[in-house]
């Protein structure tokens, strides 16, 4: 199964992943090989099989809506790469 260079670039864009030309070339080859192996699942007829997203018998677990202590502003900002005052600082969103 061959993945095109354009497909690799498109998927990298969807994932917001900056790739070098060399990485794109290597991933094109590796993804083609791996997805080629995955194609073995096509042989299995699953038309009447329901999907399983998770395996435990729990659905929509609810809890009481009770206020609890939360992390402080200082804690939350402690690992921020850039901050200004009590805020995260980000590059310009709109040019």
């Amino acid at each position: 199964m061959a993945i095109s260079r354009e497909q690799v670039e498109h998927v990298a864009h969807l994932a917001r992943l900056g790739l070098s030309d060399e990485e794109t070339t290597r991933l094109q080859q590796q993804l083609s090989q791996i997805l080629g192996h995955m194609q073995m699942i096509d042989a299995l007829d699953t038309s009447v099989i329901p999907p399983t997203a998770q395996v435990i018998p729990l659905h929509s677990v609810m809890r009481d809506d009770v206020a609890r202590p939360s992390a402080s502003n200082a804690d939350i900002l402690q690992n921020a790469p850039r901050r200004e005052g009590a805020f995260f600082k980000v590059p310009p969103v709109l040019e």
Partner: protein, 490 residues
């Protein structure tokens, strides 16, 4: 006998009898880490000597005051994806190289509440993606067995090597597709992936949320039972955590297997399995038969599809989970980002290593428009079939026996250029995660001087049976595998 030769239960007996203090025990481990870790085994990304000694002294003070707790004064190592407040938690990634959590994971709190002492954080494949620990952004970890040229397995390779090299009496790992069991097998220690939901995932850095589960790596099965009991239980902070009582797992270790029905799935004896591994597994099965267990063959017909389904589902979940690394709230952030979008590309392009990028790409592809039904939905349907295979097998059997890994530890560097070959390592462990079952690897001898692991797979919440079978085997085979001797090199 050195203090670091003791199992966790033996060390606790010494502590309780007052024959050794936690400070002495902790220092013995810190000294051994000093001598053997850096430049040799390289199991630890971060060692925490000050914290360890502070916790050890506190444990000694509590014991002097007449207190006890299940692990009071016992040292441990945590895989570096378990959050530890104030202690750097890297997940084996440049992305989190300087990340210092502001709170403990639930498992960390439970272990600290039980009195355990943190020696440090162990090396791993970046974001737990890998089977050799070579995908760590920092350095590879060496398998303590043989000539130190082999991988410890992965992704919990640091946790397995730490126990095998007696650099910790026990450790915690995580297992998404075999990442506790496979390194336990390759390093000759015991490793348990509990039932999905048995152990809280709160504060475990997420890889694939429907598959991830935390569990112990230990020197023997009794230690494994002890630690599993401490870390299990319901957690309101994890909505997938099961609200069911935790058994006393040590009580399950009866040594008696009479009438226990053990199935051997024929599909797990795969092409490419090393003859020495197959021979060790067969010998272990015969030993269990000799103990009175009823052994029978069973078929899990969709096993062949498990690997493909896993390498669609796990990357799909990873691509969603790792979307959070945007360079804004924590972690690496490209300093030269010109716009928000430019920042995302640069931060993620530089912060993630090759395997993580590969998985994000695979997962994003499988979830993308036009491919969702053919890949992701189809993989979820295969997951149903795999679960049904196990359900049918457990109508006949109390537990299943299989190899953990088709090979013994392979050479560092021997598979790094072939991602698909690396993925095939996980063929015997992956279906267990897809079905959410407990799976344990117990050493069952050596092949070419390297450990082989027997995998015992249980019903949902069947940890007691899995531990009972593994323990009976361990006792009948002359006790736990002796860990290798290591000499400090200059």
């Amino acid at each position: 006998m050195a203090l670091t030769d003791l199992t966790a239960l033996q060390a606790l007996a010494e502590l309780r009898a007052g024959r050794v203090s936690s400070e002495e025990l902790t220092r013995a481990y810190l000294d051994r880490i000093d001598a053997l870790d850096q430049g040799l085994i390289q199991a630890y990304v971060t060692v925490t000597p000050e914290l360890a000694l502070e916790q050890a002294r506190a444990a000694d003070a509590r014991r002097r005051a007449g207190e006890d707790a299940p692990l009071l004064g016992l040292p441990m190592a945590l895989k570096d994806l378990v959050l530890t407040r104030g202690v750097r938690t890297t997940c084996g990634s440049k992305m989190l190289e300087n990340f210092v959590p502001i709170e403990d994971a639930t498992i960390t709190s439970k272990l600290f509440d039980a009195g355990a002492v943190l020696l440090g954080k162990t090396n791993m494949d970046e974001f737990a993606m890998g089977s050799s620990t070579e995908n760590s952004a920092f350095f590879p970890t060496r398998n303590p067995w043989g000539d130190l040229s082999r991988v410890p397995g992965g992704s919990s390779g640091g946790s397995a090597a730490a126990v095998a090299a007696k650099l910790a009496p026990f450790s915690i790992g995580s297992d998404t597709g075999g990442s506790i069991r496979q390194p336990a097998s390759l390093c000759g220690v015991v490793g348990l992936k509990p039932t999905y939901g048995r152990v809280s995932r709160y504060g475990l850095i997420a890889f694939a949320s429907s598959l991830d589960q935390l569990g112990p790596l230990t020197a023997d099965v009794a230690d494994c039972a002890l630690i599993t009991e401490v870390i299990s239980g319901h957690d309101p902070r994890d909505s997938t955590s099961l609200d069911v009582p935790v058994p006393r797992y040590l009580d399950a270790l009866t040594g008696d297997l009479r009438g226990v029905r053990l199935g051997v799935p024929k599909e797990y004896f795969v092409d490419g399995m090393e003859p020495g591994v197959a021979a060790s597994i067969q010998a272990a099965i015969e030993k269990l038969r000799g103990l009175g267990a009823e052994i029978g063959e069973v078929s899990l017909p969709h096993s062949d599809y498990g690997l493909a389904a896993y390498y669609i589902i796990a990357p799909a979940e990873c691509s969603a989970n790792l979307a959070r690394y945007d360079g804004v709230k924590y972690g690496y952030s490209a300093p030269d980002a010109e716009t928000m979008w430019d920042g995302y590309y640069k931060t993620r392009g530089r912060g993630f290593g090759p395997e993580v990028k590969r998985r994000i790409m695979l997962g994003t592809y499988a979830l993308s428009s036009g491919y969702y039904d053919a890949y992701y939905l189809k993989a979820q349907k295969i997951r149903t079939l795999i679960k049904q295979d196990f359900d049918r097998a457990f109508e006949q059997f109390d537990a299943l026996l299989a190899p953990t890994s088709p090979t013994v530890a392979f050479g560092i560097g021997s598979k790094v250029d072939d991602p698909l070959a690396m993925y095939l390592n996980d063929v015997c462990t992956i279906p267990v995660n897809l079905a959410g079952l407990p799976g344990l690897s117990v050493p069952c001898g050596l092949s070419d001087g390297l450990p082989v692991g027997l995998q015992v797979i249980g019903k949902p919440l069947g940890e007691s049976m899995v531990l009972r079978v593994a323990h009976a085997y361990e006792q009948a085979s002359g006790g736990p595998l002796t860990r290798p001797e290591l000499a400090a090199s200059a």
